[in-house]
Amino acid sequence: MSATAESPQKLTKKELSADHPTWCPGCGDFAVLASFFKVLEKLQIPHEKICTIAGIGCSSRFPYFVNGHGVHFIHGRALPFASAVSLSRPDLHVFAFGGDGDGYSIGGNHLDHAARKNINLTYVVMDNFVYGLTKKQTSPTSPTGFKSKTDPAGSIDQPINPMRKLVSNGASFVARSHASQVKHMMEMFERAILHPGFSVVEVLSECVIFYPGAFDSGNPRKGGEFAEIDEKKWDNSSEDETRHDTTSVEAAFRLASEPFPGKFGVYLEVDRPTKNQLEQKWIDSSREKTKNASAKDLLSKRFAMMK
């Protein structure tokens, strides 16, 4: 596109920043936003091609803080909205943002289907294990025993395991990171963006107001351990045999089943056709079959069949 030529100035955080985030001081989402900016600066995606879409929740206010085309949609439905933008506009870079309630609870079904259809977009889940915007109700990822306003005696339902959900629903790129690890987040975001297909990064992002300390066990600065996945290098070495094969669903399930805080990095990265490609293939073959007939010719022919 000529658009890049028309906007020669380098895209920096200055151009990419919009409203000052309304998040509480100390919220993990600040680091997610900062990492996202840095990756955009690195990749230099044309400004007008950036499209961020979110549902409802604290983290879903993300589009207001990114100066790009954005959508603040309704609760749980960011992914189908974003899917349509991606499918009909191959020129755009489509990003969806949201939290655990938006993505795994009210929008859980849409996540399964966007993933299995392998829609070409990048989805970042800021998982804080609690409903923050509505002030501390149990979320689908709240661990059993978590005391909230809806579970004053402690949560009794088994939480969702997001990594198992993402691996099983057919997402072609699944990664996990921690908001305290900016460099790691940047690496995950960059690989997710460059992955052709449905890429999702689950980020543990602490709510310092309603669930402080939730992710300390994965944060070295709080005495925890940030255990990164050792990916296979395919170098035929003996060490390589024990490394993680990112193309293996079984291996991804094994990682996903490790006890909390578990491992961080790329769980799964498989190459399979996107819905975008498959639909385009159908469009192309349909156009070919009709010899690129104009709308008027196609319709006239159809009307002739009705006579």
């Binding site: 933008v85 499918l87 349909s286 009705m306 006579k307």
Partner: protein
């Protein structure tokens, strides 16, 4: 039938011959085919409708479909006429009964003097069931099997079509060419069998001793234009494409599904795409996503599915995104009567969403109007940048009519995303102008990119909790519909401009209401009618029309509610505060019979 038949004896072989009327004397005829849904009786109906389209005759069909998976009793009724055909017909002139259950359930639908042709291989007629009709036994099954030289009884429908062609002296040549087109693509043997069955029916010796009268239809007034014959769902689907729709999303539900299936198959040819979503919520979200991306899009459903879309639809109103929503109404509430007709979704179309969420609501009056209403919905969605709901219904969706071939030079719209660079002054929601979005991919020379939101916002789309801004923006979203109301012409009154009774209708009741009006007028009664295609906003000028009549009776297929008024009636009473506006309502899942409307008038006159 305008040609009168003498009271018919009850036997199948009675040979009293009446005077044969001159050929081509019948004005119109209602033929009901009763069988099972897998017998292909719709095929007969479709072919007869196309033939009527080619013969300058009017046609209207009516069908019932079982809501079961494996088929079941089904009827297809064809009303053929040389003049205007406005209803499927209260009673039928002919019944073709394939099975005993078809016979038992439908023989009473025949008018006095009507003819029942039954499959003597399957049916034992009961002379007492409808003593006024004539019975003619035809070995439909065995003759078809014999003609095809096989053992299966497929092809009975085409045998019957041949029989009908003979009986009504229809244009055999035109029908054969239609058959060749319909079956020619399916292989030589399929076409050969189709022709064998058809010819067997055409050559079957009914004899003057059995059918005592000529049923040849009078030629229609010849038209100088080409006509096409199709059903309401198909007309809607092509109307959407002509209106510029290239994208959409939906979820299967009866009777909306054929539109989505058609769009899914057709849109790729136009470079577009229709997505089958995982549920109704995703379908409307995707449709809004396509529209946001710059492609006006469509979603649709039937009653229960429209309810599921309501939250996202109010986002469409708030964010002012253009969207076309087709709702093929069926019997409700809940799963209700999935394959029956009803007009009970008017309130949910207008008021089903939370908050004050005004949107445009249109309703087509017949099959042809499905096509033009779809185009109008596209134009209005673009112009006013808001959701437009089109209320069609099960009866309109499935019935076939012939109408003038649309002139594509006049109505075809192509509308690619408007991605031209926007300047610093860009405001998507100006308080003094129409909404214009900058779809993603648009360069903003001011450097500030827009976020489309469901939060209340200012002119730039930026969230705003200002009490004053909410008032002003609510007014803005409402006033654009008021501007539309000013553009809609007042509807024409059919009949005298003033008088005793004014019938008011909306949607698919147009035909029966018009026919009832004509019939009342023909008997010297003061009855006029007016039809509403725009339900939100209502057209101007109705007040003046209502003032000129003593009774304003709204005919609608929904319940009279707690206070005795149907949905449109309630709306009109609230709008015009006129106590003479009252209802003729029913919810039996069937289209209005002319008699029911005329009885309704009498009831109100003497109330």
């Amino acid at each position: 039938m305008s040609a009168t038949a003498s009271p018919a004896p009850k036997a199948t072989d009675d040979s009293t011959s009446g005077e044969l009327p001159p050929a081509g004397d019948l004005q119109n005829a209602v033929i009901r085919f009763a069988g099972n849904s897998q017998d292909g009786i719709q095929t007969i109906g479709g072919l007869l409708a196309k033939l009527a389209g080619r013969s300058a005759r009017e046609v209207m069909t009516y069908m019932t479909i079982p809501s079961t998976i494996s088929g079941g009793p089904s009827i297809f009724q064809v009303h053929l006429g040389s003049g205007e055909v406005l209803s499927p017909g209260d009673e039928s002139d002919f019944l073709i009964a394939f099975y005993q259950h078809s016979y038992d359930n439908h023989v009473s639908s025949l008018r006095e003097g009507g003819v029942c042709i039954y499959d003597s291989d399957n049916v034992t007629p009961d002379p007492e069931a409808n003593p006024g009709c004539q019975h003619v036994g035809v070995a439909i099954t065995s003759t078809t099997v014999e003609a095809l030289g096989g053992s299966r009884d497929r092809g009975k429908n085409l045998f019957v079509l041949g029989l009908i062609t003979q009986l009504f002296k229809l244009d055999r040549e035109k029908l054969v060419s239609l058959l060749e087109r319909q079956f020619g693509g399916k292989g030589e043997e399929v076409l050969r069998n189709a022709m064998l069955a058809f010819d067997a029916g055409f050559a079957y010796q009914l004899g003057r001793d059995v059918i005592r009268q000529s049923y040849a239809l009078r030629e229609g007034i010849s038209l100088d234009t080409d006509r096409i014959a199709t059903d309401g769902n198909t007309a809607m689907l092509y109307g959407l494409i002509v209106g510029g729709i290239r994208h959409g999303a939906g979820y299967p539900i009866t009777p909306w599904s054929p539109i989505m299936e058609g769009l899914r198959a057709e849109l790729p040819k136009y470079g577009g795409l229709f997505v089958q979503a995982e549920d109704e919520l995703a379908a409307v979200a995707m449709a809004l996503g396509f529209s946001y991306a710059g492609h006006l899009s469509v979603t649709g459903s039937s009653g229960p599915g429209l309810s599921l879309k309501m939250e996202a639809l109010s986002y469409g109103t708030m964010a002012e995104l253009p969207l076309v929503v087709i709702n093929v109404q069926r019997g409700g509430p809940s799963t209700g009567l999935p394959t029956s007709v009803e007009q009970s979704d008017l309130f949910q179309a207008l008021y089903g969403s939370h908050g004050d969420s005004p949107r445009i609501v249109l309703a087509p009056k017949n099959v042809e109007d499905c096509f033009y209403t779809a185009i109008e919905a596209c134009e209005l969605a673009r112009k006013y940048s808001c959701p437009v709901i089109v209320l069609t219904d099960q009866a309109l969706a499935t019935r076939v009519e012939a109408f003038r071939e649309p002139n594509l030079d006049e109505c075809l719209i192509e509308s690619p995303p408007a991605l031209e660079t926007r300047g610093e002054e860009f405001k998507p929601y100006p308080l003094d102008g129409e909404t214009r979005h900058a779809p993603p991919g648009t360069r903003m020379t001011g450097g500030k990119y827009p976020v489309v939101t469901g939060l209340e916002h200012d002119e730039w789309g930026h969230p705003s909790g200002s009490p004053e801004m909410h008032q002003r923006m609510n007014a803005r979203r409402r006033d654009k519909l008021k501007r539309l109301a000013d553009e809609i012409p007042a509807p024409n009154v059919f009949g005298e401009e003033s008088g005793d009774v004014l019938l008011v209708g909306w949607g698919s009741t147009w035909g029966p209401i018009r026919e009832a009006t004509k019939r009342a007028q023909a008997s010297g009664d003061s009855v006029s009618c007016v039809h509403l295609r725009h339900l939100n906003p209502l057209p101007g000028g109705l007040e003046d029309i209502f003032a000129r009549f003593s009774h304003v009776l709204v005919v609608e297929m929904n319940d009279e509610g707690l206070y005795g008024f149907g949905q449109l009636t309630s709306l009109l009473r609230a709008r015009y505060c006129d106590p003479k506006i009252r209802s003729i309502c029913k919810t039996d899942g069937l289209t209005f019979k002319i008699r029911e409307i005329l009885d309704g008038i009498e009831l109100h006159r003497h109330a």
